[in-house]
Symmetry: C2
Subunit: 294 residues, 2 copies
């Protein structure tokens, strides 16, 4: 299988590494708009050869778009026109409705499979790429009925080689759930960092007092604005809904605290504790994947 990766960052680079190692990809061709990313990707052995955008569309069996979601909607229509007849195209964007929408009437629509691997770190660029990033994580495929059977199988096969659990979902459902389970936690983290930085003008205080708990909660605030701004833009409607709900819950807690209503504040925390069960399930699942590892 000849694999093409457009966008040689954390996600694109990590996909290339694992698929080369597993034998799924015999050759990996790469494109990136940043020259230094191409150089890093070649130096780190993420790709075998760098090609132009046009050439990569014509040389591969499977093409992965691993660029920010605003770049995906710009490139995808042209890419779908430039590919060879049997080439399959997929993407890793954190939004699905707008991406699918931008090629919904394209003559090669069946060659495209909309995907979102729920994995990543707060780091970016080819030097952040590493093995096993996707292992045991969820991969969402959206609107599978609009993809050709052979293309769907090729993409499922690829993500299975990365060790992912495959879920199927309607694009709008995906975008709604992603707003709550992924996008909102990035905003809560970005804004927590902002609030604390704003108050603690003397950053030494944060440096001196911050513990592992604070570090964990603001970890996502290190994420790339170039990647996240377009996600917030494309999933605006559902994110506004999730953010409004979060602010409502915070306002309620604020009022209970102000009124010294300790029964209510305690009840809220007890309800929050239910997240334990969910996270334990996550870990159990991950262990299950490990024990079944090939």
């Amino acid at each position: 299988m000849k694999l093409g990766i457009i966008g040689l960052g954390l996600i694109g680079g990590s996909i290339a590494l694992d698929l080369k190692r597993s034998g799924f990809a015999l050759e990996v061709f790469g494109f990136d708009s940043q020259k230094d990313h191409i150089n890093d990707a070649l130096r780190l052995g993420l790709i075998d050869e760098a090609l132009s955008l046009r050439s990569i569309c014509q040389r591969v069996d499977l093409l992965v778009l691993a660029v920010p979601v605003d770049v995906i909607v710009k490139l995808l229509p042209q890419v779908m026109t430039d590919i060879e007849e049997n080439c399959t195209v997929t993407d890793v964007g954190s939004t699905k409705f707008k991406i699918i929408d931008c090629i919904k009437d394209h003559k090669n629509r069946k060659n495209y499979v909309a995907a979102h691997p729920m994995a990543g770190t707060e780091f970016s660029g080819p030097t952040a790429a590493h093995r096993g990033l996707f292992y045991s994580k969820a991969l969402v495929i959206c609107n599978e009925e609009d993809s050709g059977k052979v293309h769907l199988e090729k993409v499922q096969n690829m993500f299975t080689h990365l060790g992912m659990r495959i879920l199927k979902m309607d694009a709008k459902d995906h975008d709604l759930h992603a707003a709550y389970v992924s996008h909102l936690s990035h905003i809560s983290s970005f804004i927590l960092a902002n609030t604390v930085l704003d108050k603690e003008k003397d950053h030494n205080t944060i440096f001196n007092l911050a513990s592992a708990g604070f570090e964990s909660t603001v970890r996502l605030a290190k994420s790339s604005p170039e990647m996240w701004n377009p996600i917030f833009e494309q999933n605006q409607k559902f994110i506004l809904q999730a953010l409004a709900a979060y602010i409502d819950h915070l306002n309620q807690f604020y009022e209970h605290l102000k009124n010294s209503n300790t029964i209510e504040t305690k009840n809220i925390m007890k309800k929050s504790n239910e997240i334990k069960r969910v996270l334990v399930q996550l870990q159990t699942n991950s262990l299950g994947m490990n024990s079944n590892a090939k």
Copy 2:
């Protein structure tokens, strides 16, 4: 040195483990209101002997109160009355002003040193105790001028044996900074978990889609309501201030997002990214401690 620990949970148990190992404590006596905590602490070797509250005050050179902050303000005045002349008392509460206030006129005030180790995990109870919990973390001592020199030295010596960096601060300053750097991140995490659980009534969706990013951001939502409710109560004023600032920042982000003002949302994220520098400093400091490890 004979050490007494009142409250045999994560913090009290971890202190006992490390001080016994380092040789700072020759004997460790413990008290807990929960019988099963005492049994666990004895079985796990956290303490050598369980004593009554009254006996422990009379048998030790140094007494650590490691109970929730509402219990500290209840026990501390009586403990300060019951101790022998040379006994030193300290605590590990996450608030300092109200605790200091409850014994400000006590005849043995000089025997007490107000302390707050900025360390912990989301787990609780004696079985959560482990070695190295405090290593390289910050220890804040408040209003040191009100403590006797010999008592201050004993407590500093104890926390230095745990590998902590000692900082001195006024109690009100401590409570203000703790509200922003510690207490607020617990609320943001509790409420994020609450918002998502409320929306995703079918918890399987969270289980299926949640990634490491979400897990990191809601980690603190697993924390004990019994421990945190009294902290929120005692530090109400500063926490309300910090929470109001957080909600303001979230509302501003919401408006920018609603108005598709991508320049502003990006600027906010870029500012949030400055937390990277702070967290790198934290890690560098921690590495520095390790290279100087005894």
